[in-house]
Structure formats: C-alpha cells, structure tokens
C-alpha cells in the first residue's frame, strides 16, 4: 500500500512540478518558435504515456500485492497485445519525428535573402566580421594572424578591403532580416549559443559551420559558449543586440572596415616614426 502511494506521489509530484515549475524557456527572440512547438508536442505525447504507464503500475501494485492465497496468472505471452502496443508506440513516435524532421529541414535550408555575418570564437572571447558592401568576405588565414592583424586578413584580397571587423564582444543584428551565421574558431571547439534564439551550433577549428535565423524582436541578449573550451568556458560571454533599422545603421556607421583600420595603423605608425625621429 505504502509503495503504491509512494509511486502515486511521485507521479502527481512530477505533473504538478511540470505545471507549476517557475523554470521554463526564455521568451523567444527568433523565428524558431516551431522548435518550441515541437517540444510542447513531445511533452504532450510523452507526458500522456508517462501518466498512463505510471497509473497502470500503481494500480497493479495496489491490486496484485501479495496476500495470503493469491496466485499469479500464468500467461507467457500475448502476441496480439504486443503487436497492438508496438503499433501504437510506432504511431506516437512518428507523430513526434515527422514534425521534428520538417523543422530540421527548415533549419538546414538557408533562405536566399539571408545576409551573412561571421562569429569567431577563441579562448575565451568573441569577435565578429561583416562582409561589407560587396557582400563578400575576404580570405583569412591563421598564418596571417598576429596582434596587428587579429583577424588574419589577407592584405591583397580585394573582397576583404570593405569587410567590417568588430573586435569586441558585442554584435548587432537587424530585426526581421534573415541572417546566416558563419561560425569559425581559431583554437578549440566553441558553440555560439543565445538561449532566446534557440539555435546553436559548434564552432570547429579548420572548418566553417553555420546556422540561420531571423530575429523577431529587439533587445539585448547574452551570447554563451555551449561547448566546453577550457578553464574559461563559463566566462566566455558576448552580447548580441537586435536593432530596428535606424539604430542598426547608426551602430554600423561606427564600425571600421579592414581598409580603414589598415590606414589608421599606417598613420599611427608614421606618427610614431616621426616622433621617434624628432
């Protein structure tokens, strides 16, 4: 009896906890609401199974617990019942899988009007790059990376001259504009993770990974690293700000292109040389 009650308490407690949990997903800020919908659907289907099986167990324990004179039934198998149960399970599983695969298809199919930006992870900070007016990223290489050229830009690639280099941990995105995030890492694995966007993807040195999304509301959101990357993993933070057009343009106009940075550096160097000569 106590055992049946104990399990019933576990069941009721679980359901109540689910309903009244103060912890639930963050308000969404991207187009991936259908991920949330798939989660909800999964909660409903699996929750129903959980409740049904638990109730059945509780009933069995209460009803068939040992008493003097009770004899168990002898029933080795019941193929018909097993086929039924298997079929119903298969239908339930398909009902979760099918929407899941449809959403996944959306997730891996980048719309044509998506604009690109690049996020670069390194232990333990973020930097970003935009392709500039020509819409093309310039070539980068590890060999060219040094304190004067932190992005490793190739000086002679014309595509790179107008690339906007953002050497700080804050990135701005335009609301309602589909974007494709190109993800790179210069050292170990990282993962670009903004909980409100739902989307995430590992950044792998030696290759470029990606995902896409459309920000649907303005605001400031924290970027976390979601792939263990050493002792500073938990402190690898950044910010992504979703702006309306006007604020976005203003932010963008404050950012420098590669060509401008090279020019600045050249002037700075000239001044230094002049000072040194005096």
């Amino acid at each position: 009896m106590i055992v049946a009650i104990g399990l019933l308490v576990v069941l009721v407690g679980t359901v109540l906890f689910h309903v009244y949990s103060p912890w639930w997903w963050t308000p969404i800020a991207s187009n991936w609401g259908n991920m949330d919908d798939t989660i909800l659907l999964t909660f409903w289907i699996t929750g129903a199974v959980f409740i049904a099986v638990m109730l059945f167990m509780v009933y069995c324990i209460y009803k068939f617990r040992h008493k003097e004179g009770r004899v168990a039934h002898y029933e080795p198998e019941n193929t018909k019942l097993e086929v039924w149960l298997t079929s119903i399970t298969a239908v339930g599983v398909a009902a979760m899988l099918a929407p899941g695969l449809i959403v996944w298809n959306d997730y891996v199919t980048v719309p044509e009007d998506a604009v690109e930006f690049e996020a670069i992870g390194q232990q333990w900070s973020w930097t970003f790059r935009l392709p500039g007016e020509d819409g093309k990223f310039g070539t980068v290489s590890m060999k060219d990376m040094n304190p004067d050229n932190p992005f490793g830009m190739s000086a002679d690639d014309p595509n790179g001259q107008d690339d906007v280099l953002i050497e700080e941990d804050e990135m701005h995105l335009l609301k309602d504009q589909p974007i494709k995030a190109l993800l790179r890492s210069v050292d170990v694995l990282h993962d670009f993770y903004v909980p409100q966007f739902r989307a995430k993807m590992d950044m792998v040195p030696g290759t470029v990974t990606y995902f896409w999304l459309t920000p649907i509301r303005t605001g400031e959101f924290e970027i976390l690293c979601a792939e263990l990357c050493g002792v500073g993993h938990h402190a690898m933070r950044g910010t992504v700000v979703v702006d309306e057009q006007e604020a976005y343009d203003e932010w963008l106009s404050d950012q420098a292109t590669y060509a401008e940075l090279v020019e600045e550096a050249r002037i700075r160097k000239e001044n230094e040389t002049r000072l040194a000569m005096n």
Binding site: V3, V10, F17, H18, S21, P22, W23, W24, W25, M35, T38, I39, F50, V53, M54, M57, C60, I61, F64, H66, A72, H73, Y74, E75, P76, E77, L81, L85, T86, T89, V93, L97, P99, L101, V103, W104, N105, Y107, V108, M142, M145, V186, D187, L189, D191, P195, Q196, R198, K200, M201, G206, T207, E220, L224, A226, C229, G230, V231, H233, H234
Partner: protein, 581 residues
C-alpha cells in the same frame, strides 16, 4: 615416406584447482572470486566518483563559498566523475561483476571457459583504475576536458591536465579496453559453448541475454574508442595531426595542420552510444528476472524481450551521431540519425510495457529487489521519455549542452541502472554470502535513494529547458538565469549530500549482515534459475556438485497451474509435481 605422427590426445581436463591462499583468493581463476574483485574495485572507484559529484555540487549550489574549488578543480571533478561512473563503475560492475558471478552459474557451467584469461582481465582492469587515480597526483592533475575528451582542447593549454593528466587518462582507457576484451571474450564464449545440457539459447534467463548482448556490443564498440585514444596519444606525444587542425592556442601558432576534431567525435560516439546500452542491457536483463521472481509470474513476452534486446543492440550502432547534431557535421546526417534514434524507442517501449505487464495479475512481493525494480521502471521511463526529446534533432538544438542533457542521462543511465544494481545486490547477496540483508535498513535505503535521486534530477530538466548550460563553473550575472536557479541548485546539493550519506546505511547493512544476517538457505526467493539450485550456498568451487544440472524448461515457470509450488526450477524434470496440463 610415411611419418609417424603421435595422436594429440590428452586426458579429460580437470577444472583448475587453487593450491594456496594466494591462488584461491588473490590471483584467483574462479569466476565468483573474480566477480567479487571486479565488483569491489568498481564500487571503490565509484565512491571516488560519488565524492567528486559532491564537490561539484558544492560549487554549483554554493558558488563563491569554497575557496578550495576553482574552475580548474571543477572541470577536473566533472571529467573524472563522468569517466569513473560510466566506464570504471557501471561497465565494470555489470559485466565484470555480475557477468562473472552469474554467467557460469546461470548457464550451468563450472566456470568461465578461459579462467586464466579471466584472472588477467581483472588485474589489467585494476591497473587501469590505479593509473586513473594516479592522474590526481601528477603535475597539473587529472584531465578536465570533460568525459568526452574532445580535441583540440583536451590536449592543448588552457584545459586542466592537458600535460600529464590526459596522457594517463588515455593510457588508462586503453588498458581498460584490453582488460575488458579478455573478460568479454570469456563471457561470450562461455554463453555460447559452456551451457549445460538442455539450456538452449531460448531458455537462458534474460539476465544472461542482457549481459551476453551487452558484451558483444562492447567488443565491437570499444575498439573505436581504443583507436581514438591511441591516435590522440600520438597527436599529443609525437605531434601527429589526426584530430588537430591548424590552430592558434592562446596566441601561439601550433604545428598541427589538417586534422579533424569531428573525426574524434565520431569515433568517441561510435563507442559512446553503444556504451549506453552496454550499461542498459544488463540492467534490462537483470530487472526482468527480478520482476518475474518477486511477482511470482513469468516475464511477460519472453521471446519478444529477447528479440528486443538483440534489436536494440543492433540499432545502437547506427544512432551514434545523435550526440553530434550541433557538432558541425553535415546537417543532412540529422535526418538519418533522428530517424534511427526514434525507431530504437519502439523496442525499448515494448520492453517497458512487458515489464509492467509482468506485474499484471502477479503476486507481487514488495521485497527490496522488487522495490528497486519499480524504482528502475519509474526512472527509466522518465529518462527514456526525455531521450525522445534529445533524439529528435530539432528539439535537441535548443536543449543540447544544457542541464536538460545532464538530467536526462543521469536519470536514464545513471539512476535507472543503479537502481538495478541495488536490486540485484539485495537479490543475490543471499547467494553470494548465505545471509539475507536486513530489511528495515533496506527499506530506509530504498526510499531515501529513490526519492532523493528523483528529486535531484527532475528539476534539473527544467533549468535546462530554460537554457542553463552544462559544464559551467559558475553562472555569474547572466540576465536570463534568475536567482531561483541558484536557490534550486543549493537545494539539489543538499539532497545530493543526503542521498550520498544515506549509502552508509547500505554499506553498513552489507557489512553487518555478512556475519549477523538471517541465514538465507539455498533458495530464499523461490527462484527458478540454476544459481539457486546449487548444492551449497555460497556455491563452492566448480559451482555445482558432482553432476552438472540438466535443464528441462525455461527460467520463468512461476505459478504454473497444477504445479505443487509456485515455482519450478529449470532443472526439475517433468513429473507429477510440475504437471501443468
């Protein structure tokens, strides 16, 4: 010209008999002794893993409180905790411990077929454990790369233990696999070749089926980890670039070029996913037998249960990349692996149905083994269900790398198998020692452990759903993480410590009952399988007396209509007492 070749004949080979204390109890070739050695070592290192979990919970529950835990320590704790629990505790305990004790007894053999190899297997395992422990004492400490050991970070600066610790970890793993292979070949060959007369494959108890298929999985899966370890060791020591791309580590250009970090992930999970079932299948098998014995009813749908084990085992080799949906592998793999992963839910669900249907119209004795079996069902159903979230590629995207994952795998492959371990110990302790465990202490142990463990992991799913990432030393000021998460973490830490310390009662019970427990007799539970039909308890060297038992029936003749008792042992010949029709 004819050569006279002597016929290579030898007299009947006697079972190896130990001649001294050393060969009887230390370098023993008796599977039962080896089982105790494996089990004792696994539990001992498991306790280290338990203490490590307390330390990490202290940090999560009370950040900025314990000066002796910094980020380096924390990452080392989680890494070694995970590695110990999955491999050195659960794998070794189920296969080396229960496998060694139960396979020969349950199939009606005198011992494993290769006793010497079996002995070596244990000693290699012990070396692996000692090397793992040694990594705490080298400069830099053990590796803190996470139990998945993903390169490049596992061998580059900026990760704790990236000098000595990681090398010892890799060597220890390689040794574990070598030791396991020796034991594993033994289990498989013994099941296939040493069954007593009448013990057909379809009369094997499900315990043996679970351990047998799990061992085959392990023999096929561990080599992938083995080569991964060797390749990573070469990358680390000789500067090869199997897994290492061109990279700049903390401002320093490294010499590596052209390797693939994702290749390691494929190798790791090609082992890692079957590993889940290497732990789960023995638990499935054992719990089936516990439920049947203590509900006095045949396991429902035996043949389906066997095929489900085999199908799950086979499918477990084509689902590995569901651990890698957001790893940067080709996104189209997601379609395939989500489909195979959700398909595996069908035979698994069928097993759950058959377990609960075994209770239906049973005569349920709420003994300790039954209680822990019920706890297994609850935690396994719960953890299996959250697997349907993470296996479904789309749902995995927001949830991966969050506390939801941590909660899921602890529930499904931590707590659930552990419930079976406890149930199995309460069930077989009387056979191993000849004494019953104390029931009152057992009840206390059960309720605290089951309710406590469930309380620890249930809420962690929800902070994961909220987005709280795993493997974070501290959360600092993170806008989307409310203070209530810290409060919850403190609560969970308190429960963790409580459940942990409650295990003292369990160990005290084992220690005390060994001398003072109620004398068990040969077959206290009224079980049908052969280990309960031995001439003496605990079973002596050679397991069975003069004659090996002959088997006439399956392992589940409980409450057969018309039979004298509510159980008919497998070696009971047909007769008036067993008249079932």
């Amino acid at each position: 010209m004819m050569v006279d070749v002597p016929v290579a004949e030898v007299a009947e080979v006697e079972l190896y008999h130990a001649k001294s204390y050393w060969t009887k109890y230390v370098f023993s070739q008796d599977a039962k002794v080896i089982a105790i050695q494996y089990g004792g070592t696994a539990v001992a290192i498991g306790l280290v893993g338990l203490v490590l979990s307390w330390l990490m919970r202290l940090q999560l529950g009370f950040p900025d409180t314990f000066a002796f835990i910094d980020a380096t320590d924390y990452y080392q704790f989680i890494t070694v905790h995970g590695m110990i629990m999955v491999i050195y505790l659960l794998t070794a305990l189920f296969l080396g411990g229960f496998g060694n004790y139960l396979i020969p007894l349950m199939v009606g053999a005198r011992d494993m077929v290769f006793p010497y190899l079996n002995m070596v297997s244990y000693w290699v395992y012990l070396c692996a454990v000692l090397i793992l422990v040694a990594s705490f004492f080298v400069e830099g400490g053990p590796t803190g790369a996470g139990w998945t050991l993903y390169p490049p970070q596992s061998i580059t600066e900026g990760t704790p233990g990236s000098e000595g610790g990681i090398i010892l970890m890799l060597v220890s793993l390689a040794l574990f696999i070598i030791g396991f292979t020796m034991g594993g070949l033994n289990y498989v060959v013994t099941v296939l070749q040493a069954r007593t007369r009448g013990m057909t494959l379809m009369r094997l108890p499900l315990t043996v089926w679970g351990i047998f298929v799990a061992t085959i999985l392990a023999l096929l899966a561990f080599p992938a980890l083995f080569v991964g370890c060797i390749m990573m060791t070469l990358d680390k020591l000789l500067g090869t670039s199997f897994f290492m791309p061109e990279m700049i580590s903390l401002g320093q250009q490294l010499e590596y070029d052209g390797g693939s970090p994702i290749l390691f992930q494929h190798l790791f999970w090609f082992f890692g996913h079957p590993e889940v079932y290497i732990v789960a299948l023995p638990a499935f098998g054992i719990v089936s037998d516990l439920l049947a014995v203590h509900a006095r009813k045949n396991i429902f749908g035996y043949r389906m249960m066997v095929w489900a084990i085999v199908i799950i085992g086979a499918l477990s080799f084509v689902v590995w990349a569901h651990h890698m949906y957001v790893s940067g592998m080709h996104p189209y793999f997601g379609f395939f692996f989500a489909t195979t992963t959700l398909i595996i839910a069908v035979p698994t669900a069928l097993k759950v149905y058959n377990w609960v249907l075994t209770l239906w119209h049973g005569d349920i004795h709420l003994t300790q083994p039954m209680l822990f079996s019920l706890a297994f069902l609850v935690t396994f159903i719960n953890g299996g269900i959250t697997g349907l979230f993470l296996g479904n590629v789309t749902v995995d995207v927001p949830l991966s790398d969050t506390m939801f994952v941590v909660a899921h795998f602890h529930m499904v492959m931590g707590i659930a198998p552990l419930m079976v371990v406890f149930g199995a110990i309460y069930h077989w302790y009387p056979k191993i020692t000849g004494r019953m465990l104390h029931e009152g202490m057992g009840k206390f142990h059960f309720w605290v452990t089951f309710l406590g463990a469930y309380t620890i992991f249930l809420p962690l799913h929800y902070i994961g759903l909220q987005g709280v990432p795993r493997r974070y030393f501290e959360f600092g000021d993170t806008a989307f993480i409310p203070d209530s998460v810290t409060t919850l973490n403190a609560f969970v830490t308190v429960v963790t410590l409580t459940v942990g310390f409650a295990q003292i009662v369990f160990f005290y019970n084992m220690w005390r009952s060994y001398k003072h427990g109620k004398v068990a007799g040969d077959n206290p539970w009224g079980a049908t399988t052969l280990e309960w039909q031995t001439a003496e308890t605990p079973p002596g060297h050679g397991n069975f007396g003069e004659e090996l038992p002959l088997v006439y029936r399956w392992a589940y003749d409980f409450s057969v209509p018309g039979a004298k008792n509510d159980f008919i042992p497998q070696n009971m010949p047909p007769g008036p007492d067993t008249n079932n029709h």
